[in-house]
Subunit: 360 residues, 2 copies
Amino acid sequence: MSSKENAADQSAAGPGSPSPKAPERAHPVTLREVAEAAGVSTATVSLVVNKKKDARIAEETRQRVKDAIRALGYRPNAMAKTLVSGTSKFIGLVADGVATTPFAGQIIHGAQDEAWKHGYALLIANTEGNSELERDAISMMLEYKVRGILYSTWFHRQTDVPAPLREADFVLVNCFSSEQGARAVVPDEVQGGRSATEILLAHGHRRIAFINATIPAPAKDGRLQGYRKALENAGIPFDPDLVMEAYPDQEGGYLATAGLLKRGASAVYCYNDRMAMGLYDGLREQGLSIPDDMAVVGFDNQEVIAAHLRPPLSTVALPHYELGAAGVRMLLGIDAAAEGPARIHCPPVERASVQVRAHA
Amino acid sequence: MSSKENAADQSAAGPGSPSPKAPERAHPVTLREVAEAAGVSTATVSLVVNKKKDARIAEETRQRVKDAIRALGYRPNAMAKTLVSGTSKFIGLVADGVATTPFAGQIIHGAQDEAWKHGYALLIANTEGNSELERDAISMMLEYKVRGILYSTWFHRQTDVPAPLREADFVLVNCFSSEQGARAVVPDEVQGGRSATEILLAHGHRRIAFINATIPAPAKDGRLQGYRKALENAGIPFDPDLVMEAYPDQEGGYLATAGLLKRGASAVYCYNDRMAMGLYDGLREQGLSIPDDMAVVGFDNQEVIAAHLRPPLSTVALPHYELGAAGVRMLLGIDAAAEGPARIHCPPVERASVQVRAHA
DNA sequence: CTGAAAGCGCTAACAT
DNA sequence: ATGTTAGCGCTTTCAG
């Protein structure tokens, strides 16, 4: 018929032919068809399908309906259901970078698990920071009548709430806003910084250096603050000379080696694991051993790095999974929102880069 | 009234009070309301909203409708639209591990971008390999009338097609099945292995070791096959003694050092980057330098590792992003499905772990 | 060029 | 204990 030949004989082929790649979609069975097959009304089928407790259906009828459902391979149409109820079982997740960082995926993962637990499905959109994409994504979610939207960023930072987001119930994840009533969950950087430092303190170190990041961020301030708190709790005076700064990656850590060694510290807490990885190289180059010559802790618990350096790196985990999960809980009102962002605990992870020593 | 006091005054507060955390959801404006506001019928509004080309609407009317839409803040209800059309603008992505591997997220990312490009949104479900969860996830997607489902695994492997998946249009991503007509996209391991080896060949190496994985997988076979092909093309006889096996992580690579050095190779191609990372440590311990004493290439292009080792590691990238994107294209019929899985190119990435040498 | 009306598949009163 | 019926918000003939 048409000018396209190759498609023709495929569809013309008999029902028995398992043609290589043709997906054969079929009949969407409806409630009514099930009702007819079972010889009951649609209302009855609906009651059976939804297992309504208060509805009394004769066991015999129920069975007949169930059989019909199975026989026809009925699937409820969630769209129709949603149309009636007005709100879907979707939670939207708008992320500015699924790609950018290896653990950004954990936010999705946590959100997905938690959402699922409460009967919700996750609708995701990656905006790569493009604000036009962002508006479109939010619009789409609004049109699908999502229960709410999680707006997440790949690194902890302050953000503006995009206007259309306000039309939905939303929670900021891994970011926060100065805006009135914007609920948010973020990692507890201060506690994390304290925990990192305390790992070192617990092993008897007193002269602990901190290589902070050069670039401004809530993490930079929070982790330093945590470091100071830990020292304070331990009765050790803060020595500004022990705080250095470096670009927060392997190269930065490597380059910080010389400066660190000048300061005569016995232990160092690095802003992140990547920095620690670079520092490992630097120390090794000097013939120094970890943890004997220098105990090291990182931050982030970036699995591929931290767990597999030689020796494995003690660090503090960024709770991305928990951020996603907590975001969902807050959205659904399971976790109450407090004043200001909820701070999620960053659990310390001890590994061999810090060793037991005689306590001071 | 109730025993709970704290919730009471919030809801009782006047409309003007910006209470800290109360999300105030409001009016779902409908098509009809817009129609009434604009003094036209719902049909007209529908035509305007959907920019139907063939419908002639007086410019004046169109404007009136648009104004009403803006004034009321109208959002189309995608559920209702879907109900009418029968199929949604969703593509489902079922993954067995968003969490497990740092780059699994890239599949999501690629799928999301490509889906979006064609007007589809991604609905994701993480099953963590749990087959009950998997069934539920697929059911849910079916109920939401997804356009199709991408079924993906976090490492390249053979898989069984879960029964309910067959009810949908589906494509396997990063996995494949022996089943008739199951479309699939997988990485081209053979080409990847060849490219990895060719990087070394191009730099004049003739005696190239390959540390393969101990655990069976398509990657294990394919990468070896690629290695052999590359040698063959270069006219170098295959020497089985140069092929070793180790557990594919840092520890495995480290432990393989001694065996490697015994073999007198000038270059080594590791099954993956993690292994290469361990090997770096082993070589360094022997006081050997990369690439002068030993040129190294890895596989996977695991960013946090490969780009930041000292020296940066040459490797071959696993095209996860492309896998996701290609999966979507195949699902939508944009890329035709061939016989057998589509193989996606694994691009080589050259870094300093291989250096220019005099050609043989 | 625009309005009226019939559903899409389902749920939820309200009848029986 | 089950059937009837009226929509949910939208698209789409079919009339005017």
